[in-house]
Symmetry: C5
Subunit: 82 residues, 5 copies
Amino acid sequence: MLLGTVIGNVWCTKKLQSLTGQAFLLVAPEGHQGPPLVCADQAGAGPGDQVLVVSGGGARVAAGAHVPVDAAIVGIVDHVER
Amino acid sequence: MLLGTVIGNVWCTKKLQSLTGQAFLLVAPEGHQGPPLVCADQAGAGPGDQVLVVSGGGARVAAGAHVPVDAAIVGIVDHVER
Amino acid sequence: MLLGTVIGNVWCTKKLQSLTGQAFLLVAPEGHQGPPLVCADQAGAGPGDQVLVVSGGGARVAAGAHVPVDAAIVGIVDHVER
Amino acid sequence: MLLGTVIGNVWCTKKLQSLTGQAFLLVAPEGHQGPPLVCADQAGAGPGDQVLVVSGGGARVAAGAHVPVDAAIVGIVDHVER
Amino acid sequence: MLLGTVIGNVWCTKKLQSLTGQAFLLVAPEGHQGPPLVCADQAGAGPGDQVLVVSGGGARVAAGAHVPVDAAIVGIVDHVER
């Protein structure tokens, strides 16, 4: 999984019906130069939260097998111990 | 998922039968240096639209389990709030 | 999916039986600095053809669920409109 | 799979119930410039251990098909012979 | 799939039981700057062999659906024609 920070929201009126009810949050993955990910929020995260993001099939285990997503927020991080 | 912009179309007459009826749009992923992705359009997007792209198995949840695709447009973005 | 160009063939006599009958073509993905991909050809492509490549589980939807591949050629591109 | 070194722990009180009981370890993949991965530990690893990490669906074969993870520690490395 | 060269072995005494019997070979992917991959050998490869590596779910089609791996050697390359 990846650690990331919630930096925004994405709104899509015109979308597949199977995505109805999903909240899409924009997450900046930690340590990545790449673009932010759009994640289906399964943990009730909000702006500025440090979150745990699962990708690929794991996102559908979290959101539902019929939900066409490939990234989901599955936890809000309390603490990272290094 | 990724945010991207529709920049073109891809036409393939000679293709697997299981791809018949799929419209292939060329999408430039936001913030990526890499090449554009070819996506199976499930949301009726057009040139210049900002779109939500799902990759991997999620694309087949959107397009159909028997459809050999690995990227699909599943929504047209109204607004990104940062 | 990715666009790419067929640049060669790969021959493997010693391989898993479940790969028997698969033609392996070497494809240079467009716009990538990385190495070429070895793809199981499902569309009858040849050297110099511009092709549509599906990766991951989509390759097994194209080639067969029991075939241990992760990249397949699923179409020969007529035209890319930008 | 990837080789990596355990460099820390990640604590998430607020998470999906299906993640309950999973220990999340922070693993620095060897030879990667990218960020560390958060892995579900299936091998009882500890800080400083060199570990074998499986990604994607393989992580759910290790942790359980209903567990929404995409990276898991599946072995502790004794020796790498080059 | 990727082409790579076998450069070593990885030994893990403490590992998941479902990995028992798998030989882990270290493979340097051709044309990649990244680290070597640890692959479950399904083709009887040895040091210096040029091999065909399948990633993700394809590795489990090769090694067994219950085996938590994400990369497998599925062939030994005779010849690459460019």
